[in-house]
């Protein structure tokens, strides 16, 4: 055990000795969380809309002013001529263009149905669709005759940080555990210090433990740190039991450390380790549900997502933080995470031993 302790201490010291690394590990994630928490949202805002308008068309003016009041639109050009329409769209001056019939909408009042056109720049799909929905809801103002009353649970104000913070935490922590473990082992390989360790009485599993325990602990500290910052700055709730989250986080860290070690057994040098880490990270992030919902992906990718530790932990985190933690869901995802962690870590150990 002494041997292991010595190793763990050496590893921790090596990691934290470089002050830049310490800043990168503990300072930068908080800045990142703040940036991403404030900046990113799924909500479509500030849509630049133009109205082609005939000066005495009061109705179109009314729509424009409603659009402006709604907060989703920036009414950037009112009264451009129709021939400029395409140009202003292709230059990106406006993203949406409302073209009323040439006589103006007011003319048709009491004379039947008026046909107006809405041109949308669909290069950004999400914005185009958002613009259409918002504008339609403005034009067909709500009536009293039959409404659907929407009650939003867990996040009634639709604060995007509530959803983003648990996800971004996972991403940040995942990046550094995988990259740091894989690179630190590959570095020892590159320098030949791994051989030196082998002639010492230390056992292979002790090397792995010594390599992963410091990062495991740093990871736990980091997760708690970032979550607390999220709770303080963004008022992200923590509604579920802390122990549940801690368990999930621990198993998640074991799984990612397993991935890191696995990569290091495959890589010859640090550059390869890094590329390997990236090959895992990029798909893992896209298939995690942080950015786009998984239920919307093709079946085979949904199946693949179940092999993604990130997906399980992101789902768990959101569930525990926002919804108070459902025991059923916890066992489902915690179980999968545990299986993954055991599989990844034991494969890593097996390969590591074989490599020696």
């Amino acid at each position: 055990m002494n041997c292991l302790w010595g190793f763990i201490i050496k590893e921790t010291l090596q990691t934290l000795r470089d002050p830049r690394m310490a800043v990168l590990l503990f300072g930068v994630p908080i800045i990142q969380l703040m940036i991403f928490g404030y900046a990113i949202s799924n909500e479509v805002k500030n849509i630049k809309i133009g109205f082609v308008q005939n000066p005495d068309d009061a109705y179109t003016r009314e729509i424009a002013s409603h659009a402006k009041a709604s907060g989703q639109f920036i009414v950037s050009k009112v009264g451009i001529i129709a021939s400029e329409a395409y140009q202003s769209l292709s230059r990106g001056d406006v993203e949406a263009l409302f073209i009323p019939p040439s006589r103006g909408l007011s003319y048709y009042e009491g004379r039947g149905e008026a046909k107006a056109q809405l041109l949308l720049d669909a290069t950004d799909l999400l914005r185009a669709r958002g613009a259409e929905h918002y504008l339609l809801s403005i034009i067909a103002a709500p009536s009293t005759s039959g409404n659907i009353d929407v009650k939003t649970l867990y996040n009634p104000s639709l604060t995007s940080a509530f959803q983003m913070v648990p996800g971004v935490v996972c991403m940040i922590v995942c990046i550094f555990t995988i990259i740091l473990t894989s690179m630190s082992i590959t570095k020892e390989k590159e320098r030949g210090t791994l051989e030196m360790l082998l002639v010492s009485p230390i056992r292979p599993y002790q090397i792995i433990a010594g390599k992963s325990i410091p990062y495991f602990l740093i990871g736990l500290v980091n997760i708690s740190l970032i979550i607390s910052v999220g709770m303080i700055i963004f008022d992200v709730p923590f509604r579920g039991p802390f122990l549940m989250y801690l368990l999930g986080a621990s198993v998640f860290l074991v799984a990612t450390l397993g991935v890191g070690i696995l990569i290091s057994t495959l890589a010859q040098n640090q550059q390869q380790a890094m590329m390997g880490g990236f090959i895992f990270l990029f798909p893992a992030m896209l298939l995690s549900g942080i950015m786009t919902p998984i239920c919307n992906m093709p079946e085979f990718l949904q199946a693949l997502a179940h092999l993604n530790p990130l997906m399980h932990f992101v789902t768990l985190s959101r569930n525990i933080l926002l919804k108070g933690g459902s025991p059923l869901l916890f066992w489902k995802h915690f179980g999968s995470l545990l299986l993954l962690a055991i599989f990844l870590f034991s494969t890593a150990i097996y390969r590591f031993k074989k490599n020696l």
């Binding site: 470089d18 690394m21 990168l24 990142q32 404030y38 990113i40 949202s41 500030n46 849509i47 292709s90 990106g92 993203e95 046909k115 056109q117 041109l119 949308l120 669909a122 290069t123 799909l125 185009a128 958002g130 259409e132 339609l136 034009i139 067909a140 005759s145 039959g146 409404n147 659907i148 009353d149 929407v150 009650k151 939003t152 649970l153 996040n155 639709l158 959803q163 991403m171 990259i179 690179m183 550059q271 890094m274 590329m275 990236f278 090959i279 896209l286 549900g289 950015m291 786009t292 919902p293 239920c295 919307n296 992906m297 990718l301 789902t315 959101r318 569930n319 926002l322 919804k323 108070g324």
Partner: protein, 368 residues
């Protein structure tokens, strides 16, 4: 500045790359692989939102309302029944929302009163909730027209035309975006380690004892990687055009120029990182922090920049990926000429100049 020495460094770097085929394959094949995978995977048209329906009326009208949800194809009715604790189903994540039709639904319609239907939704994932609410709005309109006031006529009928992506294909939106994200990451990762590696193994000392100057070293290091990057661009372009059938409506020359500027910008950023870091592990972390995450989340790839608070809109201006993404989307989908893309091109050029200069300044010709 001496071209011969720059070439020598470029050649040496190219030999390193050649001797390490893993990296080379990664750099060229991986972008294509990722673009294919995620071109297929990311469908922003949210469909199949699972809902539960609690029909307490069990009448003709309520069944018609349910069929409206059914026909919309945006929702999947996963469960029907009566729940005493509806929230629990949502907490267990079996369904994303529950529609509760009150027992007096049909009665109220017949009386001419406004019925009130409740839609209890899961607010924990805005990416699902946002689209769900807009679909819900459409259904609400239909409900009014078909069930309640059959005489109801909207005053204005709006015909919507989606320009540039008429069928609203997600791949048109995602693939050009992915292209920039993937290339950004590969190029930044490739270079981030090259100079820090020379510091780490001590060869920098030897290089410094020769007449080589920083600019030669930096450009010599960037050159081979930009060739690899351009190759990757070509493959990704072909994948986008042939594999995903995405049109290219702009000018190829501008595209090439933009790709080149974009790659060199990120290669230069990688170089700055590797100069500042001096150890590969630190360089890697910096690359991830300053390259990977912002490029993925702040470049407008999925989360649009115009929706961000003003401060962050300005902040994204320092990201080359933001400008490249704008150029790529414009060139692929719009019939754009120079007028449409000169400003992002200029921005890329400026970023390039700044980064190469920072690299040159930061690069100390002496040891510390």
């Amino acid at each position: 500045m001496n071209l011969g020495r720059m070439r020598a460094i470029a050649f040496k770097e190219a030999t390193h790359i050649r001797r390490d085929p893993f990296t080379l394959i990664m750099a060229i094949i991986m972008p294509v692989f990722l673009v294919v995978l995620f071109g297929l995977a990311l469908d922003l048209d949210v469909k199949n939102i699972k809902i539960g329906i609690d029909d307490r009326d069990q009448s003709y009208s309520s069944r018609r309302l349910i069929s409206l949800f059914h026909e919309s194809r945006s929702f999947i009715i996963a469960k029907q029944g009566h729940w005493s604790d509806a929230e629990r189903e949502i907490r267990d994540e079996n369904i994303s929302a529950i529609l509760v039709i009150p027992h007096d639904f049909e009665k109220k319609i017949k009386k001419g009163e406004a019925p009130l239907i409740q839609f209890v939704a899961d607010g924990s994932d805005n990416a699902i909730l946002g689209p769900a609410l807009s679909y819900l709005y459409g259904i609400q309109l239909q409900m009014r027209q078909q069930l309640i006031e059959t005489s109801f006529q909207p005053k204005v009928k709006i015909e919507t035309r989606y320009l540039y992506n008429g069928e609203l294909k997600s791949s048109y939106f995602i693939v050009p975006g992915l292209m920039s994200v993937v290339l950004a990451i590969v190029s930044i990762l490739l270079t981030a380690l090259t100079i820090s590696r020379e510091w780490e193994n001590g060869s920098m000392e030897l290089l410094l004892s020769t007449p080589t100057n920083p600019l030669e070293l930096i450009l010599g290091k960037i050159l081979p990687y930009s060739i690899i990057g351009m190759l990757a661009v070509l493959l990704v372009y072909l994948t986008a055009r042939l594999g995903f059938d995405i049109p290219f409506r702009g000018n190829h020359l501008f595209f090439l120029l933009a790709c080149f500027l974009f790659l060199t910008a990120y290669l230069a950023q990688g170089t700055v990182i590797s100069i500042v870091a001096r150890s590969q592990a630190v360089a890697m972390q910096m690359a991830m922090v300053s390259g990977f995450l912002p490029t993925m989340l702040l470049s407008g790839f999925i989360f649009s920049i115009s929706s961000m608070p003003p401060f962050f809109q300005y902040f994204t201006m320092i990201l080359p990926a933001r400008w490249f993404l704008q150029i790529v989307r414009t060139l692929f989908l719009k019939e754009a000429g120079f007028m449409e893309i000169w400003s992002p091109l200029l921005a890329l050029l400026l970023i390039n100049l700044v980064l190469v200069n920072v690299a040159r300044k930061k690069f100390k010709r002496t040891l510390e």
